[in-house]
């Protein structure tokens, strides 16, 4: 039995019927076409599916879509504004923090969530904030530099 849920996704209201066992990640990707959210493990261990739900970063593979009923969600597709790329996106591009890009969406959202709370984090704070987002390509260094550089 499908259930009708309502979410605000990237500032747009959306109403959608979902199966009770469908994850938020799958609904975003498969039903809403927001494929910027990735799935690297589907069990909450890699962070590639990170989205911001009611202001907090979550692994969307661990959230059932029905649990997101009434919630507000920010995905990578919502980071860009009419003014252009978000400064975090700019920083990632500029500092060479992106290689294969599979971790990037999740990294950027974790970074946003950190910088919203703490605009001038030090190295350790950045590393802690993204420690749930695995990256196999970069060795994290350029990602850390990018995040630290956003508000400098």
């Amino acid at each position: 039995m499908k259930k009708l849920i309502q979410m605000t996704i990237n500032d747009t209201d959306c109403e959608i019927a979902v199966r009770p066992n469908q994850t938020l990640a799958d609904v975003l990707r498969q039903e809403l076409g927001l494929t910027g959210t990735k799935k690297g493990c589907e069990v909450g261990e890699c962070g590639t599916c990170t989205v911001i739900l009611n202001g907090k970063p979550v692994n969307s593979c661990l959230v059932l879509a029905v649990q997101a009923d009434g919630c507000s969600i920010l995905t990578i597709e919502g980071m860009q504004t009419d003014e252009g790329l978000h400064p975090i996106q700019e920083a990632f591009i500029d500092k060479g923090a992106i290689q294969c890009g599979f971790c990037t969406s999740g990294m950027i959202l974790s970074a946003k969530s950190l910088l919203d709370q703490n605009p001038h984090p030090d190295d350790k704070e950045v590393r802690t904030a993204i420690s749930g987002n695995l990256c196999r390509c970069t060795g994290y260094q350029k990602i850390v530099e990018a995040i630290k550089g956003v508000n400098e």
């Binding site: 990707r29 927001l34 494929t35 910027g36 959210t37 990735k38 799935k39 690297g40 493990c41 589907e42 069990v43 261990e45 890699c46 590639t48 995905t75 990578i76 597709e77 980071m79 860009q80 790329l85 996106q89 990632f92 591009i93 500029d94 500092k95 060479g96 992106i98 290689q99 294969c100 890009g101 599979f102 971790c103 990037t104 969406s105 950027i108 190295d123 950045v126 590393r127 802690t128 993204i130 420690s131 749930g132 987002n133 695995l134 990256c135 196999r136 390509c137 970069t138 060795g139 994290y140 260094q141 350029k142 990602i143 850390v144």
Partner: protein
């Protein structure tokens, strides 16, 4: 800026904006109309006869469109190297490891496909199985593949010089045995694919592959299609590092299911299936004997190695060669004997991973070299410098180094890490260690015997002259190759990077052997440069006719035509351009003729301006058996210094910082070179400290997930000081050579050597878990007491 306008800069990557905004499409992001979903049934047993497969219940499940087994797939053997094709799409008579494919289903959705898989009934008769090298080679051990007695999948026996004679001249000889554990490549994107067999009989496979070219050939061969009817397209892919450099059974199964149903079929590995497919780093056990003279002259190495390889060969034959052949540099080694054995076991298959075959032999030897230096009372850095090879040296196994900045790498890390101030002066529990590396810049020969170019590139100018598009079948897998080729094309054509686009990863765009053996910058780079030179020559030829000026007296720089003897009157050309662009606002102006105008005129005169280039290395290497493995048009080298802290109470090792120097020839994109170094060091750090694929006693993986199989997080990874050493490689495009794989080589042994410096005891087994380190410290303490 120097001689160049585009290359050797820190240009932004072309693919970064799409990846930063979620626009980039990976294979699982693609949906085709009417697409079905596939799922596989894999063996639950490590070694068993298949008595019967009953698919009737699965076929009856509503929503199921096709169920296939070996009966449907046929038994064409495939693999990586033609000499060892030992895989079939499905197992027919027996399964060889937990995870071997037995059947598959296509259905209207994934849940239905999975349910159907669970309804397939297979009767097995379990066979005795072997899980270790010792078990596999034992007298009377069960054979995994009939034709391979003692389960020896491949063996190598080489001797260069005369090792025993050389040992007689040595003042010091020591023997050590080193072993690692199986690693997983840990790329973030699980393998996926979509096969689309169309009504005209053409098959398109979208796949997360590093090697579209080889996949195209294998798919065609196994499914009996003409190669020209198979097209492989690689969308964005989320890392590869080696295991995505071969054809997966899943790719073949998706193609078969699409051919059966006439619909597109999507399949993905779960994370667990990624581990089961394996094809990452082997387990190696190296026993090495090294002999030196009192003055530190390196005389001889005897290296014996066993590789535990799993159920199939994959890259294994090349791996067993590489585990010997790449130790002959970057130090002058005068005599070497190598005996390598790759052994089949009833476990998932190992293959190639970053630094293919040479990573563990390098780790073992560089640690042993440190021991030798200590025994001689020499500084390990001075010992290496004493034996270092230089540009123009040829190794004892006939590898010619047309450029080699090893001395510079060693000097660079010495200064960069303040080695002299720190070595021997750190407190207990803190250590500093050093190691070097040496790697190919692209395999000298294709995997199948052929005279094919290794890369072909086509560049087409847009008819308005405003854009150049590079078409290549090479594989951007995250390393930044598309940007590298765009930069090379822009530099060569003399136009800004913003006027170059790249279409890559599609077998329709030409031949490219793909992203493995760290080959693309050099090889695809050459082909790109040649294609761009060709296009430039065509444009200048037309200009020469139009202006009556010899082409040699013209050049293109920064998007403008340079005339050696001053600008001629080109008003006619400009007017011609302007006339057909009434209403446009971006008219070319200024005193110089633009490339856009010149290219437009070339189009008007000659039609489409398309240029192509191809690259194939010359004949390389010696004449002995296996001489091809290890050959390359160029060799990279590297050195790393690592500082660690070891908690003497718990054995926990923390890497504090790393200094890494890599000779990449001439750096095309400096940011990308650093990024490769940092990524390599991170992978090496994980492999040294904690990565290990663990098995139960039935050959099942215990930690096929990122929770239990730990790869480095941002908190584990230390800051890296990356130093780019630039030698000018005569065989590389603009002097460039590899960086993607070679950079990992010094990492593991540098950490090992640093840990020894910290705790005073050598550890000869990876990974350096707290338990292993603690036990080593404890054992040493006990020995000291006695």
């Amino acid at each position: 800026m120097g001689k160049y306008d585009v290359i050797n800069t820190r240009a932004r990557r072309l693919d970064a904006p799409d990846k930063a905004t979620g626009r980039a499409k990976y294979v699982d992001d693609i949906c085709l109309p009417g697409m079905l979903f596939g799922a596989m049934l894999q063996s639950p047993l490590p070694h068993a006869e298949i008595l019967n497969i009953d698919t009737s219940a699965a076929k009856k499940l509503p929503g199921v469109k096709s169920v296939v087994t070996a009966e449907d797939a046929g038994m064409v053997k495939y693999g990586v190297s033609p000499a060892r094709y030992d895989e079939t799409v499905f197992c027919k008579d027996k399964v060889h490891y937990i995870g071997d494919e037995v059947a598959a289903v296509a259905a209207i959705d994934l849940d239905t496909a999975l349910e159907a898989v669970s309804l397939i009934k297979v009767d097995y008769e379990e066979l005795p199985a072997v899980f270790t090298v010792d078990e596999a080679v034992a007298e009377g051990a069960p054979l995994i593949h009939e034709d391979f007695p003692r389960n020896i999948c491949g063996e190598v026996h080489n001797e260069f010089g005369d090792v025993e004679k050389a040992f007689k001249e040595c003042d010091l000889i020591r023997t050590d045995t080193f072993k690692n554990k199986r690693q997983d490549a840990g790329f973030l994107e699980p393998n996926g694919c979509i096969a689309d067999f169309d009504p005209l009989g053409r098959l398109t496979l979208y796949s997360s592959t590093q090697v579209p070219h080889y996949v195209q050939r294998i798919v065609a061969m196994v499914l009996g299609l003409p190669i020209g009817k198979v097209r492989v397209i690689k969308p964005c892919i989320g890392g590869g590092f080696g295991p995505k450099a071969g054809t997966t059974p899943m790719e073949l199964i998706a193609c078969l299911l699409s051919m059966k149903t006439g619909k597109p079929v999507k399949m993905n590995y779960t994370r667990e299936q990624v581990f089961l497919f394996g094809r990452a780093r082997h387990q190696f056990v190296h026993t090495m004997t090294t002999g030196v003279k009192k003055d530190g002259t390196l005389m001889a190495l005897k290296n014996k190695c066993y590789l535990e390889g799993g159920a199939y060969t994959s890259f294994g034959i090349a791996t067993v060669y590489y585990a010997g052949s790449l130790l002959t540099g970057p130090y002058k080694l005068r005599n070497m004997k190598y005996d390598g054995y790759r052994i089949y076991t009833n476990k998932p298959t190992c293959g190639a991973q970053r630094g293919h075959g040479s990573v563990i032999s390098r780790a073992a030897w560089e640690q042993q070299l440190d021991c030798v230096a200590e025994d001689l009372g020499m500084d390990p850095l001075e010992f290496r410098l004493k034996n270092v090879m230089e540009t123009g040296d040829t190794t004892i196994n006939d590898l010619y180094t047309s450029s080699l900045g090893m001395k510079e790498c060693l000097e660079a890390v010495k200064t960069g890490s303040t080695w002299k101030e720190k070595r021997g002066k750190l407190p207990k529990g803190k250590g500093i260690g050093l190691a070097g590396g040496f790697f190919v810049s692209g395999a000298g020969y294709p995997i199948y015997r052929s005279d094919t170019p290794h890369s072909t590139v086509t560049i087409k100018l847009s008819d308005d002259g405003g854009n150049a598009r590079v078409y290549t079948a090479s594989a951007e897998i995250g390393q930044g190759s598309d940007t590298t080729f765009a930069m090379i094309a822009a530099e060569t054509l003399g136009i800004p990077l913003s006027d170059v686009a790249v279409s890559s990863g599609d077998t329709d765009f030409g031949v490219d052997l793909g992203a493995y053996s760290s080959r693309q910058t050099l090889m695809t780079g050459h082909a790109t440069k040649r294609a761009a030179e060709n296009v430039k020559a065509q444009v200048l030829a037309v200009l020469s006719e139009q202006l009556d000026i010899p082409a040699e007296e013209m050049d293109i720089k920064k998007g403008l035509i340079e005339f050696r003897n001053g600008n001629p009157d080109f008003e006619g050309l400009r007017t011609r351009y302007l006339k057909e662009h009434r209403g446009w606002t971006d008219h070319p102006g200024g005193d110089d003729l633009t490339f856009r105008e010149a290219a437009r005129v070339a189009f008007l005169e000659k039609g489409p301006i398309v240029g192509s280039g191809a690259y194939k290395p010359g004949d390389l290497g010696g004449k002995y058996k296996g001489a091809a493995v290890g050959t390359s048009p160029a060799y990279s080298c590297s050195a790393a210094v690592v500082e660690v802290g070891v908690d003497m109470e718990t054995g926990k090792v923390t890497v504090d910082n790393m200094t890494d120097a890599h000779d990449c020839g001439f750096a095309i994109n400096r940011t990308s070179v650093e990024a490769q170094l940092q990524g390599s060091l991170s992978m090496g750090l994980g492999e040294t400290l904690f990565e290990e694929v663990k098995f139960d006693n039935k050959g099942g993986i215990l930690n096929a997930d990122f929770g239990e199989y730990k790869i480095p997080t941002a908190l584990d990874m230390a800051p890296v000081d990356t130093i780019i050493v630039e030698s000018d490689e005569p065989n590389g495009p603009y002097g460039a050579k590899e960086v993607g794989e070679g950079a990992i080589l010094p990492t593991i042994p540098a950490i090992l050597n640093a840990v020894y410096d910290a705790i005073g005891v050598r550890i000869w087994e990876l990974p350096l878990t707290p338990e292993r380190v603690y036990m080593a410290i404890k054992k040493k303490k006990e020995e000291q007491k006695d």
